[in-house]
Amino acid sequence: MELKAENIFKSFGEKEVLKDISFTAHSGTALGLLGRNGAGKTSTIRIIMGVFFPDKGRVLVDGKQINRNDIRIGYMPEERGLYPKIKICDQLVYLAQLRGMSSKEAQKACDKWLERMSMSEYRNKKLETLSKGNQQKIQLAATLMCNPQIIILDEPFSGLDPVNAMLLKDVIKEMIAGGAVVLFSSHQMNYIEEFCESIAIINQGKIAVDGKINDIKRSYPRDRIAVTSRDVEKISPFVLQKMSDDITDVKNDGENTVIIKMKSPDLKSRLFAELSSQDFDIDCFKVCEPSLNDIFVQYTEVGV
């Protein structure tokens, strides 16, 4: 299955919120929507969910206009939406039924997911009596109960402690392995990097960059090499002396690592050969890739 947003425009009054947003997400992979506060992530998600309609553009599933009644979609809105004064199992069953499950299936799924979230003991409690993190878990159960083909999570990690975040990670990984299309937005780059094969960075209503994380990273010049070794102190002077014409900068990065910036990425095999010819105790020799954080900051800084 393939979920595609195609040239989506949306204005609220005078304000143009989304300008030509397009991206594609595939089954069995996760797409991370990144962007600063107010960039248009939630608006994009709401348009995909049909909460409101785009001014222009389409949302397609396998090339056809999305029909939200035929596809099981799990949606976790940014502003968590459940009934505070109603018993947890009652509202979970209700929402699952609205998403097309029979009463029995819904009951079963409710038990299964409460168990999975280790929340079974709260089954008959009212939602408002739970802590924020636990409410979040219930919300996640509500999202995943219908065994969705498309999962859309708006900031799923906010408010979770590390243990619960781990639980959530496991569950999401399971869903991805099960072949679901997962789309999620988050500010927490480490999570995005962990799940998402692809990202789309939205800046001021426009797609700033999108594609596979690896491809994006590879698109950066691969001219910086990080060498980790106990002999860092010997390595720095050695390379400076041996390859002074090809190297623009050498600097220590942490205790045992040195970062060597070369004039061209093609020179890295020469550097490798020079280093291996000596008797240095090298733990690691690798190309320095930009972190997702660096990429994010670069694309979303004001004025870029």
């Binding site: 001014d55 502003e79 968590r80 939406g81 109603i86 009652d90 209700y94 609205l98």
Partner: protein, 422 residues
């Protein structure tokens, strides 16, 4: 359709299980049970009072300044007050006043001249007919004395003058006197039920919006289904409550009150089955009309505090409708205003109901009114769903009327565009 049923079931069960709802129902039931004992208690008190202290309680003090024949005065008053002791006295008017004030006399009468008297009473009640009776008695004495003067036998003239006329009423249409009371009660119940359950719907919508559950719901089901399900579900819950309460009332009135009620009053409380059925029909139409209006307007509010601003205009319409009906009930129920009102969807339910209960309305008129109401329910339902759709994500200050219209138009346009694409 499946969605409507699911929403309906959910809303219904939530209403029924709601603690406040259950407590209200129980309190109302207890109140009704309690009040149904009232007639019996009053009756009991009255009978025990008159049994325990015969004669002692009711003494009428009369100062006779008009006639020489005091015996005639006493006798005549005794005829008019068979259960009281008539006591002619020579006391001054001030003494009588004191005695009345001390409750030694039930009341006092000073016959100043044959055709004028002073009535001395402690508390003058609004409904008191005492002066009329005293006037009758005084008139009777006056006649007797004067006839006597002309040599006519008083006993015979009295028989002619006071000949009792027996009458009987045959009603060919609806007996307004008999139905007035029961209709009044039903109109009152209709009014209160609509206000109560209408507000229940708007409260429920605003809660959903406040807790952002709406965003989840709107992605699962169509707004029309959500709206209809919610309104029907809450309505059924309301109906359940009404059935329980009215059922309690009927049973308790039948078993407890009726036995002790005087016949005239119990007659007033019985109502024809058709009236009850019409009450039910118009409860349902009125409920839908107002629930849709209130529900959709509430979806524009982001907090419960904004609710009043939005729903007051609708409530005003309903209050005006109620006032018109209640005022017309005491005069001509079929006046032009009422006839017009019984075809305007917002006023039709109670106006038409009052007309049916208190007069004869042609069947086709009832059908036309009901059809008008049904059509407006459908249209209002659609409008409500559309407004609900816009309201979902509208936070901040409630929008102004023209803004709502503008948004509705925009939405209609995008809907059309999307349909044509598909």
């Amino acid at each position: 359709m499946k969605h409507i049923l699911q929403v309906l079931k959910f809303e219904y069960l939530n209403c029924i299980k709601n603690k406040a709802f259950i407590i209200t129902t129980i309190i109302l039931m207890l109140l009704i049970l309690g009040t149904s004992f009232v007639p019996a208690i009053i009756m009991d008190m009255q009978s025990s009072e008159s049994e325990e202290t015969p004669g002692e309680m009711n003494i009428i003090g009369i100062i006779n300044n008009a006639y020489d024949d005091s015996d005639l005065v006493t006798k005549t008053f005794e005829k008019y007050y068979p259960h009281s002791v008539v006591q002619l006295t020579d006391e001054s008017i001030d003494d009588v006043k004191t005695k009345v004030n001390d409750s030694q006399y039930t009341f006092g009468v000073v016959l100043n001249s044959p055709i004028s008297f002073t009535y001395v009473t402690k508390n003058n009640s609004l409904m008191s007919e005492e002066t009329m009776t005293i006037a009758e008695a005084a008139k009777s004495i006056y006649r007797a004395v004067n006839f006597e003067k002309f040599g006519v036998d008083h006993e015979r003239t009295a028989a002619i003058l006071d000949a009792p006329v027996i009458y009987d009423t045959v009603t060919t249409g609806t007996d307004q006197t008999k139905n007035y009371f029961s209709t009044y009660i039903l109109v009152m119940i209709l009014y209160m039920a609509i206000v109560m359950y209408g507000q229940m719907v708007s409260q429920s919508v605003v809660t959903e919006k406040n807790t952002r559950a709406m965003e989840m719901l709107i992605t699962c089901a169509k707004p029309t289904h959500l709206m209809f399900g919610k309104v029907i579900g809450s309505g059924l819950a309301g109906l359940t409550q009404l059935v329980v309460i009215i059922g309690t009332a009927l049973v308790s009135v039948k078993t407890i009150s009726m036995k002790s009620l005087p016949e005239g009053l119990s007659d007033m409380l019985t109502m024809p089955v058709s009236t009850v059925i019409y009450a039910l029909v118009f409860f349902i139409t009125a409920y839908f009309i107002y629930a849709f209006l209130l529900g959709s307007l509430s979806s524009l509010a982001s907090r419960s505090e904004d609710l009043n601003t939005l729903t007051t205009p609708v409530m005003m319409i309903f209050v005006v409708a109620f006032m018109i009906v209640v005022m017309s009930m005491t005069n001509d129920i079929n006046n032009t205003l009422m006839i017009v009102c019984s075809y305007i969807p917002f006023t039709a339910p109670i106006a038409m109901f009052a007309r049916i209960a208190l007069s004869d309305v042609a069947f086709y008129e009832i059908i036309i009114s009901i059809i008008i109401q049904l059509v407006s329910i459908y249209l209002l339902g659609m409008l409500a769903a559309a407004i609900y759709r816009i309201g979902v994500l509208m936070y901040g200050n409630p929008p102004k009327f023209n803004e709502i219209i503008k948004l509705l138009k925009e939405q209609h346009k995008t809907n059309k565009a999307i349909k044509s694409k598909q």
